[in-house]
């Protein structure tokens, strides 16, 4: 297996994809209608002018500029530190969400009655709009005390990330835990394996290929949850807050808004990369599987 070669190839392709995306952006800017366009009476085509779609190089250049005349920090550093702050919240949300999701899935896989009772509520939980939930969860801040410890606002934001993240994990893991073939389960039974043993030796390993894509969804969901919750609650420090702060300068300084959005994309990439690493670690001893994931 030419590991190094494939790593270089992947990196190259990744860079190529970025360039292609930038090229597509610029291409549309070049040929798209300045003031937007309609298809069959629907306003579908986005505006290609500099306010709506600033040039890629303008956005890149803006990243290098200072944030303002008083704050001498370049924008890329502000954006990166915002992304890093949000990343930690999203990671916490992702881990909590994953733990809760796997736990729920395990209980559901073990006890059919729990599954029948609980699953519909999990689905319902995801239909609750984030913006309705956010102020409620945020109001825990300052209300919940454990001894001298007070529930901080940032934890609410992480909880909202976890709230979006646990669902795909629960559903994916459940599906995975149930994926062990009947013959394998019968085999375990013939060995007089206990329920716990069957879980550990058979069900969990066979669930991994289902869990990994679920984790990918969860990673993306936790990022979205954190970013939206930051915007909703105005939590200072993260990329969501930065986006909305910069968005207020959208009419005068459009590239700055996109600079912040780039930060959000980097954050998403970092989370996705994390799951990829997990995937590589978990699947390292498996035969290259064509049909899995």
């Amino acid at each position: 297996m030419a590991r190094r070669g494939s790593a270089i190839r992947k990196t190259l392709l990744f860079v190529l994809a970025l360039v292609a995306a930038a090229a597509a952006w610029e291409l549309y800017k070049a040929i798209g209608p300045e003031d937007g366009g309609s298809i069959l009476g629907w306003k579908l085509l986005p505006r290609a002018n500099d306010v709506s779609m600033p040039h890629v190089w303008d956005v890149s250049a803006r990243l290098l500029d200072d944030e303002s005349r008083t704050s001498k920090r370049p924008i890329w550093r502000v954006v990166l530190s915002g992304a890093w702050y949000s990343f930690r919240l999203a990671l916490l949300g992702f881990l909590v969400g994953t733990a809760v999701g796997v736990a729920l899935a395990t209980v559901m896989a073990r006890f059919g009655i729990v599954k029948r009772g609980l699953l519909p509520y999990l689905v319902i939980s995801q239909t609750v709009p984030m913006i309705a939930l956010a102020p409620l969860v945020v109001s825990w801040g300052g209300k919940l005390h454990l001894g001298s410890w007070e529930w901080p606002k940032w934890l609410s934001v992480a909880v909202l990330g976890a709230f979006l993240a646990f669902f795909p994990v629960a559903v994916g893991t459940l599906r995975g835990l149930e994926s062990a073939s009947a013959t394998s389960i019968e085999l375990m039974r013939s060995f007089a394996a206990s329920g716990v043993q069957t879980m550990r030796k058979l069900r969990f390993p066979s669930a991994v290929p289902f869990v990994v894509p679920a984790l990918r969804l969860a990673a993306a969901a936790s990022v979205i949850g954190v970013v939206v919750a930051e915007i909703s609650t105005g939590l200072r420090g993260g990329i969501g807050r930065l986006i909305i702060e910069y968005a207020r300068q959208a009419s005068g300084d459009p590239p700055k808004v996109y600079a912040a959005v780039v930060g959000a994309a980097v954050l998403g990439l970092a989370m996705a990369g994390l799951v990829t690493v997990f995937d590589l670690v978990m699947m390292r001893r498996r035969p290259p599987a064509e049909e899995l994931t």
Binding site: V51, G142, I224, G234, I243, R248, Q249, S251, T276
Partner: protein, 439 residues
């Protein structure tokens, strides 16, 4: 695998964009006090006199050096801070502990709230034996609701919106009307020729909706225009892109925020920034349909039953007045304080905002914070009787006399004595030059 991660990254990027734009236009919640600035404002013609039976002259003397205990009775259990010396004179004060106070803003740190940040920075709250922490707002944070829920001790909110929350059961009261005038404008390009509400006829009129549109409807009614047929009302985001891109003929804007955003944008025809000469502005304050905006709200029940809270309120309002007076006298320094407090808006934009906010406060004929009965009544009248397109009014009935009180601000001014100019009768705004993007 890499395809998937790219796809996810794309989705995340896309969704954050969506999220950002949603947050930006506050489109999700109607209670939201948008862009801090953008809650509906009220009717208060400049120059209206406020005269609600105030006996307090901002010249009441207070002998320096006297030991003054603001709020005589203290609920048992609360720390009883005593102010020894005259506050506001910069003398050393001795406090027996400071009362913790949380102030809930409508929005992020910006010059709109400059006076409070100045009061923190300059130690005015400390001098009043208060330990004030300022909580920023967010897209889904409703300040008056935070107050009613006990999350904050005081909140800043626009009068109509707070009255709406009050009507829905929140026990809150306006204790100081900091902004004496409405800062809402309708901004259009010169060539559209919109110089008064009468000219709205046949035009695309941008409005923020979510309760921010009532001044527009009041102006339309005054101009005898039918909002349903005579004008085209366009839902506007909380920015000026609609106007700049030609979707809207006249866009709703706050003097201290969105209007500046236009002046910070490039005019593609000249390659330079737009100037005030390129624009026509209709001021709802001047049109006589302004509604009262930023006010300090307190918990009415606590004010009634808790002497200590009432005393804190008096001291809090007094120190806040000092802060606003500081911002009036030194807008640049106040801007720097706001920037240091963590505002991410550009410097020139921030100074513009400071200056425009000063214009909404000063001169304050009866003293900053005094609630003028005429302006209040006009606000209530519009909130009650002007339906929007959905035929909804802000209020279904009059809020009653206990929705505001001048007692606190009267006591606060007595506490300040003549150490602070609370009317700012010789106030003169400064000239601010906006830079591209507000930098």
């Amino acid at each position: 695998m890499r395809h998937r991660s790219k796809a996810i990254a794309a989705v995340v990027a896309g969704l954050t964009l969506i999220a950002a734009s949603c947050g930006d236009d506050d489109a999700e919640t109607d209670e939201t006090t948008p862009a801090g600035s953008d809650a509906p404002g009220t009717t208060m013609a400049p120059g209206t006199t406020m005269a609600p039976g105030t006996t307090m002259a901002p010249g009441t003397t207070m002998v320096p050096g006297t030991t003054m205990v603001p709020g005589t009775t203290m609920a048992p259990g609360t720390s009883a801070p005593e102010v020894t010396s005259t506050p506001g004179t910069g003398e050393q004060v001795e406090c027996e502990g400071r009362d913790p106070v949380t102030l809930q803003l409508q929005w992020f740190v910006q010059a709109q709230f400059g006076g409070y940040f100045a009061a923190v920075d300059q130690g005015y709250y400390e001098d009043m034996c208060l330990d004030v922490s300022i909580a920023e707002g967010g897209v889904d944070i409703v300040p008056q609701q935070q107050l009613a829920d006990g999350e904050a001790d005081f909140a800043i909110a626009w009068v109509p919106k707070a009255l709406q929350t009050r009507e829905q059961g929140a026990d809150i009261v306006d204790i100081a009307q900091i902004f004496q005038r409405s800062g809402t404008l309708q901004v259009s390009f010169k060539d559209a020729g919109i110089t008064s509400p009468e000219d709205f006829a046949g035009q695309r009129i941008g409005n923020w909706g979510f309760g921010n549109e009532y001044e527009i409807f009041a102006a339309l009614a005054q101009a005898e225009l039918d909002p349903a047929s005579d004008v085209e009302l366009v839902q506007q985001q909380f920015d000026m892109l609609g106007l700049l891109q030609g979707d809207i003929d006249a866009a709703e804007a706050m003097t201290y925020n969105e209007y500046a955003q236009v002046l910070e944008a490039d005019n593609p025809d000249t390659g330079e920034l737009y100037t005030a000469d390129d624009l026509n502005v209709v001021s709802y304050e001047d049109a006589g349909v302004g509604m009262l905006q930023d006010a300090l709200w307190a918990d009415a029940g606590r004010l009634e039953s808790d002497e200590a809270y009432r005393d804190i309120a008096v001291r809090f309002v007094a120190a806040s007045i000092q802060g606003w007076a500081y911002c009036r006298d030194d807008p640049e320094s106040c801007r720097d304080i706001v920037v240091a407090a963590g505002s991410q808006l550009g410097d020139s934009h921030q100074l513009w905002q400071m200056n425009e906010v000063n214009k909404l406060i000063w001169p304050a004929e009866n003293g900053i914070g005094m609630i003028d009965a005429d302006a209040w009544n006009r606000t209530v009248e519009i909130a009650q009787n002007t339906p929007n397109l959905e035929d909804a009014t802000v209020l279904s009935e009059a809020p009653g006399d206990d929705a505001y009180t001048n007692d606190i601000v009267t006591d606060a001014m007595a506490l300040l004595g003549d150490s602070v100019d609370v009317t700012g009768s010789d106030f003169a705004p400064i000239e601010v030059t906006l830079e591209a993007g507000g930098a």
